[in-house]
């Protein structure tokens, strides 16, 4: 039997990352990060030493790719002017505040990892196997499409992040897709905690548990205020409701939120 702790979307939330690592390192045999280290939160350089110290195997997200290549935007895939306004603010801030050495490190991250564990092929990607910034929402992925993605990735278990909301689907073929959620901000449910995924693999079978991570969100809000990050971001950290980047949400996910 093997246990993997997998998370993504740190968004500079070093306090949530530290809390998640404290928990995950005692419960799992290995820890993986699916990318998007920066965005949204304060002082982006703080997450890097935490990942290094805990030996977290990390893949590259769209944000990491943008920072490393010095692109003009975060490639988050937002298209609405309301979403883009805030995406731009946090990208410009994160770009300015990420050290050159860390940008180089981000640039060297692999785009995917392929593991073979307990007879299962596990593939880790940021957005989807075919595109780093494709959104895999629970309510916009048919079973048929997920089966196709698993074929595409040559995997029995596919793990992704990028959307910010976790889900797990066991497919008719017996294969699995897991969106591990994000550590960076709560998932638009009015709760202030964030989530990571704990995968238990034994003898060709998989079970998935989502683990809530409570952290000192008031301290994070204070840091964000000190860095003069937008009040809308701080509100999300304190209330658990998304206030920005909402236009990309499909109907079901949007209808669950407050805004």
């Amino acid at each position: 039997m093997r246990r993997l702790a997998i998370f993504g979307g740190i968004y500079s939330n070093h306090l949530a990352l530290a809390a998640a690592l404290a928990d995950a390192t005692c419960r799992a045999d290995a820890v993986y990060c699916l990318g998007d280290l920066g965005a949204f939160g304060p002082s982006p350089d703080r997450v890097f030493p935490l990942l290094h110290d805990s030996d977290v195997a990390t893949i590259q997200g769209n944000y990491d790719n943008s920072l490393a290549l010095g692109l003009a935007d975060c490639q988050c895939g937002y298209t609405d002017p309301r979403d883009n306004f805030f995406a731009r603010l946090s990208y410009d801030y994160t770009f300015r505040r990420t050290s050159p050495a860390n940008k180089v490190w981000l640039g060297a991250l692999p785009a995917s990892l392929h593991l073979e564990i307990e007879g299962l092929r596990v593939a880790l990607f940021h957005g989807s196997p075919r595109k780093m910034n494709e959104f895999l929402w629970e309510s916009t992925c048919s079973d048929a499409f997920l089966e196709y993605l698993l074929d595409f990735a040559r995997a029995d278990v596919l793990c992704v992040t990028h959307t910010g909301i976790k889900w797990h689907r066991a497919l008719p073929s017996g294969r699995h897709v897991v969106n591990v959620g994000v550590l960076g901000r709560p998932e638009n449910d009015g709760q202030t905690n964030v989530w990571y995924a704990l995968l238990t693999l034994a003898n060709r079978s998989l079970s998935v548990e989502f683990v809530p991570v409570a952290y000192d969100h008031h301290a994070l809000a204070a840091e964000m205020r000190a860095e003069r990050l937008p009040a809308e971001f701080i509100e999300t950290i304190l209330t658990g409701w998304w206030t920005t980047c909402l236009e990309i949400l499909p109907h079901k996910e949007r209808a669950r939120g407050r805004f």
Partner: protein
């Protein structure tokens, strides 16, 4: 390596320069269906209770270019699409709610995939709104209801869409919202560059005050040089054709023809925009539809410019084309 947009039809083993030379329209680059992400059903053909001045497929009350789809045909193509790994289903027209079996078809579609219906929202009475909400709740997938509205001003909207339409649409949106549905209000852009924030604010005020929709989901669409709009803009219209040069380095999923197909009562078409163009008909049914298409129409340039505006996410209308935004960051 041959770039994605020059691959030959599956199994041909030939680069497209050679295949294209056999075709008359040899200058137009060919796009291959990479995967069927989106399947469109033109479920009521070109039958619509309105006749908007910018309708890209010229639908209207007596327009029989395309007819209604039989539910059995929808079911068959849905099954084939699922076998192909389809991601999302779209119902369009004409006006889909003119089809007597629309709700059953939406239900069947939502059993297998996320589903969107595009409507003018003039025939959405209370029982229909209630039923849509039920159907949505029963599915694990999203049902998107895309409602067209063209101006936050009654007179301007009705000049395009018909007298009295504005009031009826707002009433329908109010009904949908009251049942917990959040329609995606889609607006065809007719304002000058730079006007987007103001238009957004005006729509938001309107929908909040008149339909109780306080944080409305809005989607902007470019005007398409097709159908009635093409007649209306006439000589002003001078879009170039898409060239191979333009496609070089483009994200392969930017154009609908690389990931979508449209089903009508007269066969399968490369995309929902070109259903009136004889060369865009790819076969009788999905199972035998040709896998590639040469971009031989000026509207293809609109796709190239604006990206995947047919999908549900709002489209970045302001500024450059999406692919132009990938430019390196300017030095501070």
């Amino acid at each position: 390596m041959i770039p994605w947009w020059m691959w030959g039809p599956e199994g041909s083993g030939q680069p497209l320069e050679i295949l294209a030379a056999e075709k008359k329209r040899m200058n137009h680059p060919r796009v291959q269906l990479l995967h069927l992400d989106n399947l469109w059903f033109q479920v009521t053909g070109t039958f619509c209770n309105l006749a908007c001045t910018h309708c890209f497929n010229g639908s209207g009350p007596n327009v029989s270019t395309f007819g209604f789809l039989a539910p059995a045909d929808v079911e068959r193509e849905l099954g084939q699409a699922v076998r192909l790994g389809v991601r999302e289903i779209f119902f369009t027209g004409g006006e889909p709610f003119l089809h007597p079996a629309l709700l059953e078809m939406l239900e069947a579609s939502l059993r297998v995939a996320p589903t969107t219906v595009l409507t003018n929202a003039t025939i959405l009475p209370e029982p229909t709104a209630a039923r849509l909400a039920e159907i949505e709740r029963a599915s694990r997938y999203s049902l998107e209801i895309r409602v067209s509205l063209d101006s936050p001003e009654e007179a301007a909207n009705d000049a395009v869409r018909g007298l009295g339409v504005f009031t009826r649409v707002l009433a329908s949106i109010e009904r949908l919202c009251r049942h917990g549905l959040l329609p995606l209000v889609s607006v065809v852009r007719d304002w000058p560059l730079g006007g987007e924030p103001e238009i957004l604010a005006r729509f938001t005020r309107l929908l909040s005050e008149r339909a109780g929709y306080h944080r409305p989901r809005l989607k902007f669409l470019p005007v398409l040089p097709l159908g009635r709009e093409l007649v209306r803009i006439g000589a002003d219209h001078d879009e170039p054709f898409v060239t191979e040069e333009m496609l070089r380095g483009l994200e392969p999923d930017l154009l609908m023809c690389s990931n979508s197909r449209a089903v009508t009562d007269r066969g399968v078409w490369v995309c929902p925009l070109l259903v009136e163009m004889p060369d865009a008909r790819l076969g009788d049914r999905l199972a035998n539809a040709a896998p590639t298409y040469a971009l031989g129409h000026r509207v293809c340039f609109t796709c190239y410019e604006y990206g995947t505006f047919c999908s549900n996410v709002s489209t970045a209308i302001e500024g450059a084309a999406p692919h132009a935004q990938r430019a390196p960051r300017p030095e501070p």
